[in-house]
Symmetry: C2
Subunit: 484 residues, 2 copies
Amino acid sequence: VMNGIRDKVLTLDTMNQSVKNIEYAVRGPILLRAMEAEGRHWGVKKPFTEIIRANIGDAQAMGQKPITFMRQVLALCQYPDLLSSPSFPEDAKKRAMRILQSCEGHSTGSYSASAGIQMIREDVARYIEHRDGGIASDPDNIFLSTGASSAIMAVLNLLVSGKGKTRTGVMIPIPQYPLYSATLAEFDAVQINYYLNEEHYWGLDVAELQRALEQAKAHCQPRVLCVINPGNPTGQVLSRENIEAVIRFAYEEHLFLMADEVYQDNVYAEGSQFHSFKKVLMEMGSPYAQQLELASFHSCSKGYMGECGFRGGYTEVVNMDPAVKQQMLKFQSVRLCPPVLGQILIDIVTNPPQPGEPSYQQFQQEKKAVLSGLAEKAQLTEKILNKQPGIHCNPVQGAMYSFPCIQLPPKALQRAEELGQPADMFFCIQLLEETGICVVPGSGFGQKDGTYHFRMTILPPLEKLKILLEKLSQFYAKFTQEYS
Amino acid sequence: VMNGIRDKVLTLDTMNQSVKNIEYAVRGPILLRAMEAEGRHWGVKKPFTEIIRANIGDAQAMGQKPITFMRQVLALCQYPDLLSSPSFPEDAKKRAMRILQSCEGHSTGSYSASAGIQMIREDVARYIEHRDGGIASDPDNIFLSTGASSAIMAVLNLLVSGKGKTRTGVMIPIPQYPLYSATLAEFDAVQINYYLNEEHYWGLDVAELQRALEQAKAHCQPRVLCVINPGNPTGQVLSRENIEAVIRFAYEEHLFLMADEVYQDNVYAEGSQFHSFKKVLMEMGSPYAQQLELASFHSCSKGYMGECGFRGGYTEVVNMDPAVKQQMLKFQSVRLCPPVLGQILIDIVTNPPQPGEPSYQQFQQEKKAVLSGLAEKAQLTEKILNKQPGIHCNPVQGAMYSFPCIQLPPKALQRAEELGQPADMFFCIQLLEETGICVVPGSGFGQKDGTYHFRMTILPPLEKLKILLEKLSQFYAKFTQEYS
Ligand SMILES: Cc1ncc(COP(=O)(O)O)c(C=O)c1O
Ligand SMILES: Cc1ncc(COP(=O)(O)O)c(C=O)c1O
């Protein structure tokens, strides 16, 4: 009690310490700086004309247009008066009517079943079957979700148990998408880092999985292996052989496998192809197909649609104990249901216009335009960055990011230490303040000690991206000179 | 290992036991029965023509029409081509353009800031100021959310800490909305029950708060008091004096106050009026206004709009430690952002068409029609149920539910015990199987030992509700006769 004011009930000291321990870089200090920089009064001195946000995988924020058919169906579902309007194609109307029929009270304003609208779960299962060359998928194994994020968190939540040395350990790639480390901190689970191999295009080595696992066994009970494919922030696409090896490893070590496949439509490099863990697992046959427990995640935020704001996603669980599936359903029930419009988007993603339908051609055209644009930007990014001595950038085989390695001179490291900042954070902040370019330091995703990276998206429009990459290279050259 | 099949990684035994301990009635066994009953092949014997779901507060599922203006704005935001269509009113277009301007990339498909779109947070703050007669509200204290549910869970998550006797205790009303008990089980917090006074219209007695608190102090550290006003499932509306007393109690006992005010627009009884905790708190002045920590919750799922499927909500925090507010923001960042369309609905709820604008009259008419319809149904429910000896129903002053007390004959209690069911669950299942009426047993919400209740919504259309209430009364008469 000071000046008659007593301590608050809820303070940093009294709050949930697990929540306090969460670190989250993508929307962390660098974004706050960017927002502050935008709002700041620079007077005549402001050294750039706009902030370019290459910090977050948000396609439409960077100017990508939504897929017309998707928005037509959404508008029709929202405001069914439009069903009589001549300006909407017939297949969009038919689709909207089919969806409305499957909503309680024929309205998107009602709660859905907790696992999502049944018809949409069926559409998702059919999509997976088609994607995986006919391998069966059961709608009962599909849970719609609030973005992929909520499903990933829900499955992890189910998996975390035990205390002390029996506490659940979860293997995650380093570098990782920080949802994983944040969630593990929140749930007080043990994070087990396995390092992706930067020298081999950020490949996933089973020997490294084994090393990480053996080391972790001394202080926790490893029970989960998370894989992100295509990778964020690293952009690699796993080969089929690699996936088989990962599955064998998970089976032998009795791990639950979580496959984050939200970038399944985002594969650009020649020779790269997306293989779903489910398909490979099933094709490997006994004992894997019958026994390995797998959860795969997808989202409407990425791919060619980039509909992040709707928070749509799903997970397919394979070989999950039916009693645990009931628990997962109960868990979702408490939260009532995922946003219905996100569910509708998932329906369109998994059940797009078919050949012969009026919207088919335009849908395919728009989809291809986005994906080939991304492929072009993926190449461009690698090419321009690799021209700059001191920056090394692996090919962006998939996803929406590059994660270049930067050499930083000793004096820059020293200066960063004086400021109490990780060295790549120091670099990124200087970059932002001088050029308006907003990228995220590698330290937010994890990296080998003594190496420095940043993550940037390839999402800005081509011309802007070119300028960004060139400015960034120039800034790097200037920065290293200044500190050498 | 049996037949070469080893145990699964994730089973009821190995899973997160806190999640396993969650109980959730509203979407629990009774709903599963209802769904099963709908799908079952009854042959000629099916004793009813349809399932009437009075189990969940989902207005549009029960046939309530959405507010036209809301859906127009949503459609325009989804599909901006419509901005040039002559069939939308000018104010809806203006509104949609204003919202699109505030979205990244001018699209609802982009992620928003983690706490929600800044402009909408400002609109919410202005709404609160207006609601509370001019008392200031700071947009920085507003967090948009995924329904009220996610905000309630987030604030509880922040508050739960400590171990053993210092574990956070959270006071909740009994009967309660089961999100609270479920969340406390998930977070392993200590649930402290205070009983609402059924004899006094489900009023909240401070003496009972005190009793519950003192008793709990022996085994946990009580730090939070939750109040639901208007009440779910109990339908009471707190008087201003009562709210003042609760605030004094929370202050004296150094508790964080959580006010669930999602039914703030749902007040029907003559003489009843909604008073926000924030307003009363501020008007009480020192030391309460400066020191009591409060979080208040609102939603687009209830009120006159009933837009449950969009998962929109917000919380206003008052006197929260700024460092904790940062933690809350970080917590939301991990989940990226609330659904943008839910945010838009919150914007319209808090910033509806103004007098003089083209949509003003229709909006007000539609709003009034819904609310006066609910008021009529609230009265009807009380009137019809109270005619039946053995059923006692308090007035439905607000919200969307009645929670009548039913006397059950000893033989029915005995039969329920034989079946291993709570007695009111037994009653509700029999009711469902014979009449198709789906209500939720009181045991799912909590009740005094030895009393039995059920919760039903007042949402079915008037004519259907009448039939439901009469059928229910008849069934009760028959049931008690059968078991006496
Ligand atoms: C690898 C990965 N997984 C999951 C997500 C979550 O996306 P959302 O919750 O929007 O579906 C993201 C988003 O960037 C991601 O990069
Ligand atoms: C008292 C109360 N609080 C919160 C909620 C959560 O509603 P939502 O998450 O849809 O906003 C409900 C829903 O029924 C409720 O009755």
